[in-house]
């Protein structure tokens, strides 16, 4: 599409409104008029919200921040797809040139048992932080680490670690999964650290603790349908789930040696 085209769209929006986690929610109809095809999806919502404010109505709450596809704040299920129809794209990077004049667009929050609705399209994803607290780290205190080049890392391993480390923690994988499983998210962190030599000392403990916390948060089991990876804006491969399962099984096999570790904080 030509940049700066004068194409304008008129759209019908069906937006989920909900006042709080325990309140009932429902779709509300809105119209978005004269939407430039160069706008991002969130800019389209900005226009809608400013219209609502001018009419004395309450604007729609949605999470967003960097609008560059990296912070993981934005969410939204758009016409049934987490982050919308474009593959490998967050909602903030989705542009209106991918829609047609007259389209009806359904906009919902990332719904899952473990993600309660805060308000409208905003959900609570703090379960992800608690999974990271359980083991998504290397225990290295700030201090005098050895020289960075003292430990060479095979480039293939390093690149593979990076591919997993690109996870932005948005939760699209959970929203896409019919079991609301967090396996792709958890697998990504486990794989990132398992593929590096620095991650080895805590590898077993990490897999046990993160999986235990994932279960405690109420996320479902992996369906093996790869819907998560298809929805992932960073296109993280389901290989990371295989890695998580392998690491977890290996760690369990070494029990009871590690049992005590999973019980400690």
């Amino acid at each position: 599409m030509e940049h700066g085209s004068k194409n304008k769209l008129n759209l019908k929006l069906k937006v989920w409104r909900q006042n709080g986690p325990k309140e009932p929610g429902h779709f509300m109809d809105y119209e978005a008029k004269d939407i430039s095809t160069d706008m991002s999806f969130l800019e389209m919502l900005d226009v809608m919200n400013n219209d609502l404010i001018r009419q004395g109505k309450t604007p729609v709450e949605f999470d967003h921040d960097c609008r560059e596809g990296i912070c993981g704040a934005c969410s939204l299920v758009i016409n049934g797809n987490p982050h919308g129809p474009q593959l490998g794209t967050t909602t903030c990077q989705l542009h209106m040139r991918h829609f047609k004049n007259g389209d009806v667009i359904y906009i919902e929050p990332f719904v899952a048992h473990s993600f309660s609705v805060v308000r409208d399209l905003v959900v609570d994803r703090s379960a992800f932080d608690r999974i990271q607290q359980a083991g998504g780290f290397i225990s290295a205190n700030t201090g005098n680490a050895q020289d960075a080049n003292a430990l060479p890392v095979n480039k293939t391993d390093s690149d593979a670690a990076f591919d997993a480390a690109t996870c932005i923690g948005c939760g699209a994988c959970v929203a896409a999964c019919k079991n609301a499983s967090a396996s792709l998210f958890v697998g990504a962190k486990i794989a990132h650290l398992a593929r590096l030599p620095q991650g080895q000392p805590e590898r077993d403990r990490r897999a046990l603790a993160m999986v235990a916390q994932m279960d405690a948060e109420g996320f479902g089991s992996c369906t093996n349908t790869s819907a998560c990876s298809a929805a992932c804006p960073k296109e993280i491969s389901v290989d990371v789930i295989a890695q998580m399962n392998r690491d977890y099984l290996c760690a369990v096999a070494k029990e009871p040696k590690h049992k005590a570790l999973t019980e400690s904080p």
Partner: protein, 640 residues
């Protein structure tokens, strides 16, 4: 020059200042550390690294962020890389050279001792981040890879594709999460700091709003560490995240912390140009692209051929022409101004004519599309998503945009503001970048402050101060809560005719037109009166929707824009007062015949630190911290 500002720079040779100071500082014994509560506001690189490192030492840390998770802080969006003086490529780098380049790049408006310490610490940062599992780019031999950034003739930038900020932040976040799990850090997400609480002249707590419930909360501590980023969003359109704001800093300023060099704002040369008036933000295209991309415009005005059809002899690679030794890698302020000059000459490109080309044709010939994708794949992808154009086939169109603010709260060598106990880290302080920050130095400074400076200097403050026990029942906390609540009520009750965004866009336009890439006395005076008028209108005619008792983004934005409307005036006043050009501050009246910035070291070799005075005719009073350059001798910057 008389001043009440004491920078507390330690004595001795510059190489030994930090080592000596670390020995001289008082320590808190390990068993006593757990008796201190430290409030850390912000969880970007500076805040997360500080909170984690302080907790590792044994302090009780309360960590606050406006996001749903600390991992969303805007450091995550930094793309290009982080500098360190490792000299792995053996190309002549050293701590002294990084120090020299940074002082020179900052156009001699930073504090030498701070910059030297930063360069010293830079190497430890890389070591520590690798230990945390940060997947930096590596060579086939397994060793770390480096690339070049503007303002340097060595390759000292470590990177993780175009997502270096993300990987560094996730590293600091992982350490922070570990401490939360261990119970040493208590996390307060979705909280916005709306006031600083000062008891007996010392920073002892904060007042914040729970963004989900709307509750106004008080939190007490023995010290407050502020790491809340910069104020680039005053321009409305910037590369900052939408939630980035000045409110936490500004509330501290109003409580007595001096604000330094507000007019030192960085306009980044390579951003995706504005395409329409609905635009909500601008997107950076990393400076690292200038390693391989060549910047050009057509030689002829109004050349409407598509870029591929313009032969080399009709192209003006103007940075390579004007600055043969640094070429496309001149510092940001220089590259931005030159782009503006080309557009002002009528040689801009694209539909709007407000852009220049950044062309990878020659690099793709040399390295192949795959080679380019390996280095910049995610950036090319992002460009295509936003513009709908494929940068492997047609050159990128770029234009400068507001990106970073060198100014911020004034701090001494210990990173303490003029309010005892209030420490300020990262972009929120003013300290290390002078009038222009070099690329890949923001990540370096944020992590230096958080990992390696504040763990020492904060301990010394705690050990040498008498800190009575206070609780949130203290009258200072009560007054602060009342002030914050009254302000929120006032914002919600105006129900005027204009939205918060409309006011913010209007302010942004004044700032960009008159306090942006180039400034003059007449425009700055106009800006001041226009901002004063806009601020008056704001407090009569803004319409803020909804109630204070739930998640209400309109209300959140309303408070931030109210503070930007005050900062805007100070920013313009600072720019008006500084009658010279230096770094990112370009006054049209003070330039060389070649349109380069003309510094006035005789009259302006100082840090401008502004004190807020209420009730007076002017709201601010200027204090000056003189700058002395013993090592990098004051000279006109030349990148030719």
């Amino acid at each position: 020059m008389a001043t009440k500002l004491d920078a507390k720079v330690p004595g001795g040779p510059i190489e030994e200042k930090w080592d000596n100071h670390r020995f001289d500082m008082k320590l808190v014994n390990p068993a006593n550390k757990r008796k201190f509560d430290i409030i850390v506001v912000g969880t970007g690189l500076a805040g997360a690294s500080a909170a984690a490192s302080l907790a590792e030492l044994g302090y009780n840390v309360k960590s606050f962020c406006i996001h749903d998770s600390p991992r969303r802080a805007h450091s995550i969006a930094a793309q290009g890389g982080i500098n360190a003086a490792k000299n792995y490529p053996n190309d002549g780098d050293s701590i002294y050279r990084l120090f020299y380049d940074t002082v020179k790049g900052g156009d001699f408006r930073s504090r030498e001792a701070n910059v030297y310490r930063l360069a010293q610490i830079s190497n430890h940062i890389i070591d520590h981040c690798v230990a945390l599992g940060v997947p930096f780019a590596r060579e086939y031999g397994g060793l770390l890879s480096n690339r070049s950034f503007g303002g340097a003739q060595v390759s000292r930038t470590f990177y993780a594709r175009g997502q270096t900020g993300q990987q560094l932040l996730l590293g600091a976040y992982s350490s922070l999460m570990r401490q939360v799990g261990l119970g040493k850090v208590r996390l307060y997400p979705r909280r916005e700091m709306l006031d600083l609480v000062v008891v007996d002249g010392k920073a002892r707590g904060i007042t914040c709003r729970n963004l989900i419930t709307g509750e106004i909360e008080s939190h007490e501590g023995h010290a407050v560490v502020l790491a809340t980023g910069g104020y680039g969003n005053i321009f409305f359109l910037s590369t900052n995240a939408k939630n980035s704001n000045v409110t936490a800093s500004w509330r501290c300023h109003k409580k007595g912390a001096l604000f330094a060099n507000p007019c030192f704002t960085q306009i980044h040369p390579t951003c995706i140009p504005v395409s329409g008036d609905y635009q909500s933000k601008l997107t950076l295209m990393s400076e690292s692209l200038r390693n391989d991309g060549r910047v050009w415009v057509p030689k002829q005005k109004g050349d409407k051929r598509s870029p591929q059809d313009i032969p080399n002899e009709d192209r003006d690679y103007y940075l390579e022409r004007i600055y043969p030794s640094f070429g496309n890698l001149v510092p940001r302020d220089v590259a931005s101004r030159q782009a503006k000059f080309r557009v002002d000459e009528g040689r801009g490109v694209g539909d709007t004519g407000v852009a220049v080309y950044l062309d990878f044709r020659d690099a793709i010939k040399r390295l192949g599309e795959e080679g380019i994708a390996e280095k910049y794949g995610n950036l090319f992808q992002m460009y295509e998503k936003i513009t709908g154009e494929n940068p492997y086939k047609v050159p990128m169109r770029i234009y400068p945009a507001v990106h970073y603010t060198m100014g911020g709260l004034w701090v001494d060598y210990n990173l303490m503001s003029t309010i005892p106990g209030l420490h300020v880290l990262g972009e929120a302080n003013f300290s290390d970048h002078g009038a222009n920050r070099l690329g890949a130095s923001a990540l370096m400074q944020g992590l230096a402050d958080g990992y390696f400076v504040i763990p020492y200097t904060l301990g010394s403050y705690l050990a040498s101060s008498k800190l009575e026990k206070v609780t949130t029942d203290h009258s200072a906390f009560k007054e602060s809560r009342a002030d914050v609540t009254a302000r929120i009520d006032k914002l919600l009750h105006m129900k005027g005719s204009r939205t918060v965004d409309e006011f913010h866009r209007h302010l942004g336009k004044i700032m960009w037109d008159k306090v942006g890439m180039s400034r003059n006395a007449k425009g700055l005076k106009e800006a001041i009166s226009e901002i004063q008028k806009l601020r008056e209108e704001y407090w009569q005619d803004v319409h803020v929707s909804g109630e204070p008792t739930y998640k209400n983004e309109d209300l959140e934005k309303a408070g931030r824009v109210a503070d930007f409307l005050e900062l805007g005036e100070l920013l313009a006043l600072d720019a008006l007062t500084r009658e010279e050009s230096c770094g990112g501050h370009f006054r049209e009246e003070y330039q060389t015949p070649e349109n380069e910035a003309k510094r006035d070291d005789e009259h302006f070799c100082f840090v401008s630190a502004w004190e807020h005075v209420s009730g007076a005719k002017s709201s601010w009073q200027l204090e000056k911290e003189p700058l002395e350059f013993e090592h990098v001798h004051l000279a006109t910057r030349s990148y030719k």
